[in-house]
């Protein structure tokens, strides 16, 4: 066990309709080698021993690949540090005696389920609206070189596909805009020949669903790109804007 002493100010909310408030918790014996989530585990262990309700927060892989963990820590999505998720954030980023504010992602489209856990199914519905190819891809093996793809395009499509759907872009944005997420999902198909047949329909449907979910409008502040754990580039938003403009003018 380590010897850092911290004060955590954590959002507690007993359910979707509860008012919710920030509650202070002292945490002792924090090691700088713990991840932020492990530190919360220690706190929850304490709370359970005392017979109190543990703090609900999302997590799964704990290695930065699933996109489950969230948390707005000290005013930043996934806390201080770049290109990391909260499970990859270590307590060595903080000092003994620090006060740390922990809040859930804030957006109309991400309602709080309990405490720090929010409902991100809006992202699933956007994906379902158009983030797919219609050709059957199971079983029928195709020669990988039958359709040549420029290396640069393949790389960019892969970069876009590294989006883990965590929602940090929305949480960070002053406008709660989901443009970076949707742009990544549009780009990963738009750049590849396999994604071309549905390109027009896809971008129109995904943007329409995004607006329906109540996300805000992009004003290009660039905050999402800075806070995104996967470094998804604003270039993808421009590509989506291009695709969207072209599809809107040429649709029948």
């Amino acid at each position: 066990m380590g010897n850092m002493k911290l004060t955590l100010k954590i959002w507690r909310q007993n359910g979707p309709n509860d008012q919710g408030k920030m509650v202070s918790y002292p945490v002792n014996n924090v090691s700088e080698d713990m991840s932020f989530l492990e530190m919360l585990d220690v706190l929850n262990d304490d709370l359970v021993r005392k017979g109190e309700d543990p703090i609900a927060f999302d997590h799964d892989c704990r290695e930065g690949i699933c996109g489950s963990c969230s948390l707005f820590i000290n005013g930043e999505a996934h806390g201080p540090g770049r290109l990391i998720t909260t499970c990859q954030l270590h307590m060595r980023k903080f000092k003994d005696g620090d006060t740390i504010h922990v809040e859930p992602w804030r957006a109309e489209a991400f309602p709080v389920i309990k405490d720090l856990a929010v409902n991100r199914s809006a992202f699933d519905r956007i994906q379902a609206a158009g983030g797919f190819v219609t050709v059957n891809t199971s079983g029928n093996l195709v020669d990988g070189n039958a359709v040549p793809i420029p290396k640069d395009d393949a790389d960019k499509a892969f970069d876009a596909a590294t989006c883990i759907g965590c929602g940090a872009c929305v949480a960070t944005c002053v406008n709660s805009s989901a443009m970076l997420f949707v742009a990544a999902k549009v780009s990963q198909f738009a750049l590849l020949p396999q994604g071309k047949p549905e390109a027009k329909r896809r971008v129109l449907a995904m943007v329409e669903q995004m607006d329906k979910e109540g996300f805000g409008n992009c004003s290009n502040t660039g905050a999402c790109e800075v806070e995104c754990p996967k470094g998804i580039s604003l270039e993808h938003i421009a590509r989506m804007n291009r695709e969207y403009l072209a599809a809107s003018v040429t649709k029948e």
Binding site: M22, H101, E103, F215, G216, N217, N220, N241
Partner: protein
């Protein structure tokens, strides 16, 4: 938003070019400026473009207002603790505030010069052919003998500079123009534009105040 923003930016260049004539405060300079002002209020093609301009300002402000309302609604519960400076520039987040200040300024500015030129009872002088023509120059010169009026213009050009510092490059991104080769150029041109244009605009009232 992007199209009207860029159109307004182009307008700024032509407006600045015309107004820099005010720096020549000699009698011939005054005469030339008044002739220019008459041309701008009477020439049909200029009229068509000016209606497009009024429309652009109103559309830009109205659309910006609507988008801002939607954006507010998209986050009904605010964060208790925020550190927005860690990932974005304050002026990029405050486009609505900067824009509203510009709008208030535009109302004052247009009331004082544009409205007076069109419908106001302002003094006349004679042009080279002996016909009477409105003496807008004197109206402008009189306005800029007041220190607070000069200060208002200088401060507001600072506001415009920050609006453009984000807005210019943002418009290209909104239109889908982002390219590893051209985006750095667009950003540099944007910074140059956002700094130089407002400085020259601000120079006019300062110059006229000093030389009055």
């Amino acid at each position: 938003m992007a199209l009207t923003g860029l159109f307004l930016s182009i307008f700024l260049i032509t407006h600045l070019a015309g107004n820099l004539q005010l720096l020549d405060m000699s009698p011939e300079g005054q005469q030339k400026f008044n002739e220019y002002a008459r041309f701008m209020t009477t020439f049909p093609l200029v009229k068509v473009v000016s209606y497009l301009l009024y429309f652009s300002i109103l559309f830009h402000a109205f659309d910006g207002f609507l988008l801002t309302i939607q954006n507010r609604k998209a986050r009904p519960v605010k964060y208790a603790y925020e550190k927005p400076g860690a990932n974005s520039a304050w002026y990029a987040r405050q486009m609505a505030l900067l824009g509203t200040l510009i709008l208030v300024f535009l109302v004052i500015h247009m009331k004082h010069f544009w409205y007076e030129m069109h419908w106001g009872d302002i003094p006349t002088v004679t042009d080279t052919s002996g016909k009477p023509m409105k003496d807008l120059y004197s109206v402008v010169a009189a306005a800029f003998t007041q220190l607070w009026y000069v200060a208002l213009y200088v401060v507001m050009m600072g506001v415009l500079a920050f609006h453009l510092l984000h807005g210019f490059q943002s418009a290209f991104q909104s239109l889908g123009l982002n390219h590893p080769r051209y985006t750095p150029i667009i950003k540099n041109v944007g910074v140059f534009f956002a700094v130089v244009v407002p400085i020259f605009f601000a120079l006019i009232p300062v110059w006229m105040f000093i030389n009055a």
